[in-house]
Symmetry: C2
Subunit: 373 residues, 2 copies
């Protein structure tokens, strides 16, 4: 007989996945249901409502893409973009750069508004670009840039975009569930996220929401959507078919149980309380990193993602060695720098189930032992 895989129980304090709530892991292993089972269809209804709750939206078209956040990014862009459409992508990190890459894949005319890595997008830069490009159809940006720790002002960026008649596509992968996000109030047209960060669920699902304006746009495209799996016209009867659901794909039922449990836990806590908790614990962490270890985030205080910090690696410290020792001696994972920040920062996340004082204590204690050696 073979040996089953026995994953080490790590403390996951990188950019995600974060540790999964035990009740979510429990939900994951319940008996599978068929994707047309009446009980499963009921679960899908509840999922849509729970997602509307965490997204702060009344959008009817709120559902789950059955794949990771990166697939949600692709799904969001492919449904909106037609060849030669002009899209402004605000790029100040790895993931916003990926948005630009994907938009190009689908034949868009991509205008990049560049921002320094580690800074929020400067709204004036977006406005300048829109003035120069009056035929812009979409503005895309990342709300919380996972690669740099910078939180952009989604509300202001969205207002500017709409002032110039653009639709807004927002990456909320690292923001959903962990920091203030108001899809309707901020008028965000297409928003996608993931399951494994602020929602304290396992990876592999991408919650998405489309405004009525976004749907109107999709329904009035002149060209066909360049994907079958992500084509909203096929996803719509699957998630929203009135009397009868149309078959699309076999839903990952157990993953959906887990997401349902994770979202229910957030609703139980209250989404505003979850945001508040993330801020409170992160503030403690930042304070202690500074006072006890002289470590500081690279992002200015008013532009920081509370729960995901890019911490400057001090001169003379071997950043990879620190991560390795944290992992091997303390079962503690923190994140590596990506792209322009590779080798320059550690990324420390305090997300979802992990946003608590116990984890702050453990991280500080472990880091002290490794760095002071």
């Amino acid at each position: 007989m073979f040996e089953s895989f026995k994953p080490i129980n790590r403390f996951l304090m990188g950019p995600g996945p974060a540790n999964v709530h035990p009740k979510v892991l429990e939900a994951l292993s319940k008996p599978t249901l068929g994707h047309l089972d009446p009980q499963f269809l009921q679960l899908m209804e509840e999922l849509k409502n729970l997602l509307r709750y965490v997204f702060k939206t009344k959008n009817e078209n709120t559902f789950v893409i059955s794949g990771p956040g990166s697939l949600g990014m692709e799904a969001s862009l492919v449904n909106m973009i037609e060849p030669d459409d002009k899209i402004i992508v605000c790029v100040g990190g790895y993931f916003s750069n990926r948005m630009a890459q994907i938009a190009e894949k689908f034949g868009a005319n991509v205008i990049v508004v560049k921002e320094e890595w580690g800074r929020a997008i400067e709204p004036q830069k977006l406005e300048d670009a829109l003035k120069e490009n009056s035929d812009t159809k979409f503005v895309a940006f990342v709300h919380a840039e996972t690669s740099t720790g910078a939180l952009s002002d989604a509300k202001t960026l969205s207002k500017i975009a709409h002032d110039y008649n653009s639709l807004v596509i927002t990456d909320a992968v690292t923001s959903l569930g962990a920091v203030d996000l108001y899809v309707d109030e901020w008028n965000l047209d297409v928003v996608y996220s993931c399951s494994q960060k602020g929602l304290a669920c396992v990876a592999g699902m991408s919650p998405v929401t489309f405004s009525d304006a976004a749907i109107h746009h999709i329904k009035n495209r002149k060209t066909k959507i360049k994907s079958w799996f992500n084509d909203f016209n096929f996803l719509e009867p699957y998630w929203f078919g009135e009397n009868k659901r149309a078959y699309h794909h076999t839903a990952p039922a157990n993953q959906f149980y887990a997401l349902h449990e994770a979202l229910s836990l957030i609703k139980d806590e209250g989404i505003e309380n979850s945001w508040e908790r993330h801020k409170r614990n992160s503030n403690k962490l930042i304070e202690r990193l500074k006072n006890e270890l002289h470590l500081e985030p690279i992002v200015p205080i008013e532009e920081r993602i509370p729960h995901l910090l890019a911490i400057k690696v001090p001169d003379g410290i071997d950043e990879a060695k620190v991560r390795k020792e944290l992992l091997e001696k303390f079962n503690l994972e923190i994140g590596v720098g990506l792209g322009e920040l590779a080798g320059k920062v550690w990324r420390i996340g305090l997300m979802g189930y992990n946003s608590n004082e116990r984890m702050v204590d453990y991280l500080i204690k472990s880091l002290k032992e490794v760095i002071s050696k």
Copy 2:
């Protein structure tokens, strides 16, 4: 406090998902690992080897698409097809028709070889089409057509395709793990499958394998691949990066644990033994359906998928009522007809963990009670 979702423990004897092996459900709920954790990278290595075992291939490029089989279908086609490429799709059911639809999405010149629903693809028809279309680049077909219960002769179809210098794209969604499949021996260039049928795992993953010829083709394309998430050029360094894995997406770690367990169970049994078990139990089921209930598959005996039967609904029987009663009174799910066979057949699966005599007994007993009323 909210109430957690409590799925009914159904007997899943439709076209999939099938019931999941208890050890696989157990694996699913183990602690999450980060996608760059050395232990997780080791798991990915083992997954690739286990998949090579069940696919009967030495293909280096054997891995998992992090989404359902339908995404695997899209990934397989989008990597191969360039605009105006000629592809022959053998269509004798719902899923082969979907292959044609997706190929069209990517701008292919699609030639359809039509077959009757419920019959294996007639090899001569493929050869005739290839003679008429000497510029054909790809031949695509479904090995085991889930919508009709017909098993095509993949070996012969592949030989003909290669005789005319075409690459072969094969849907093995319902065949992998449950019926003879020899990727290398049969010279299948691109093969995709799913996790929730013959592998007795949860839904949401798509095992794929690419021959060297397929990879050579991808590397020598003239146009860019029209997807970011499924682009092999980005998946390659993620799954096969030599010294260092390149980040692509956050892997659904817990799903991968489950797949690893499911594949290990098959290896433990022996893949040939698994095929044999599926045939043995299905033969018993067919015999008893005929003798005790006068029910027969629509597919001629030599063209049948052993483990997935499309059973003709007898005249005068309300097919939907039977399914409803089986579900409500016996917690037993069987499948509905799709497309041309809607309302005309039930689809009964005896797959993976479910392929055993106990399930045959339970199905026969339940069907008797419902139909004889």
